[in-house]
């Protein structure tokens, strides 16, 4: 009934090393599920929607492409998510007078209300999670993540 953390085949030569990506996969999925449940309870919105609200922010007008750069969400996915958020009156749009291609996006009054209610809860959640780490772990995990990211990119050119 217990879940094996480390695939045995990887343990032969290099015991812990091998399974890092595996661990990240699992932890990521648990964190995702947790965030989704939490958000659902707190404000009834989805994780994707929350990320977008965070990128739009409580005031000002953004564009699709700015959100994409900011959140690294796929533009197609963003387009579809926004459609839903406009339908449920979380986001409103207006035309950009200078560039006919883009739309300017902003939270509606309702969206802003939810945003302001949700932000402190999400902060609290993050504090709880990060609070479980020691200071050195906190520092190390960030630099480790950065390094892994660039290592994955570098490796593309080799293999």
């Amino acid at each position: 009934m217990t879940i094996a953390k480390y695939p045995a085949e990887f343990d032969n030569d290099t015991p812990l090393q091998e399974v890092l990506t595996w661990r990240i996969h699992h932890v990521h999925s648990k964190l995702n599920v947790h965030a989704a449940k939490f958000l659902e309870k707190v404000s009834g919105i989805g994780l994707a929607q929350w990320r977008i609200m965070l990128a739009i922010g409580p005031d000002g007008w953004t564009t699709h492409s700015e959100i994409c750069r900011y959140t690294a969400v796929d533009k197609g996915q963003l387009s579809r998510s926004l459609k839903g958020m406009i339908e449920s009156d979380l986001v409103e749009t207006k035309n950009d007078s200078l560039d006919q291609r883009q739309q300017r996006l902003s939270l509606t009054r309702k969206g802003r209300r939810i945003f302001k209610k949700t932000l402190p809860m999400m902060r609290e959640r993050q504090s709880f999670l990060v609070g479980s780490l020691s200071k050195s772990e906190r520092k190390a995990i960030f630099s480790a993540l950065d390094k892994l990211e660039t290592a994955a990119l570098d490796h593309e050119f080799l293999a």
Copy 2:
């Protein structure tokens, strides 16, 4: 054109803390894409398939539920993945004589060939990735991931 790493709204009080889950999300997705490309090039199989092959192993007969426990993959997803792998002659099944509900699974000769070719490549990849970390980072990221995982579980009961 640069991607903002940290959502500004989270930076007010607790600069780095807040975005840990965000960072994990991105790095995980990059690693996933990388693994998929790598596997595609090396042996033409998908990441989900590779995880399953790893769980089955080069010899012996396993069951669906054992693989689920081992890999923490959803059983429905597993069922569907296996269907494809059987079609492409990577996996074969036989009935379990003692329990009519379960099937016993094993790699075919072809599956075993691919497995043996792929394993060292994936080891090499992992070594490359983990090799980019210092020893202390290596240690810290594992314990940090463990703690985050349990913290997410604990938090369910609170909020």
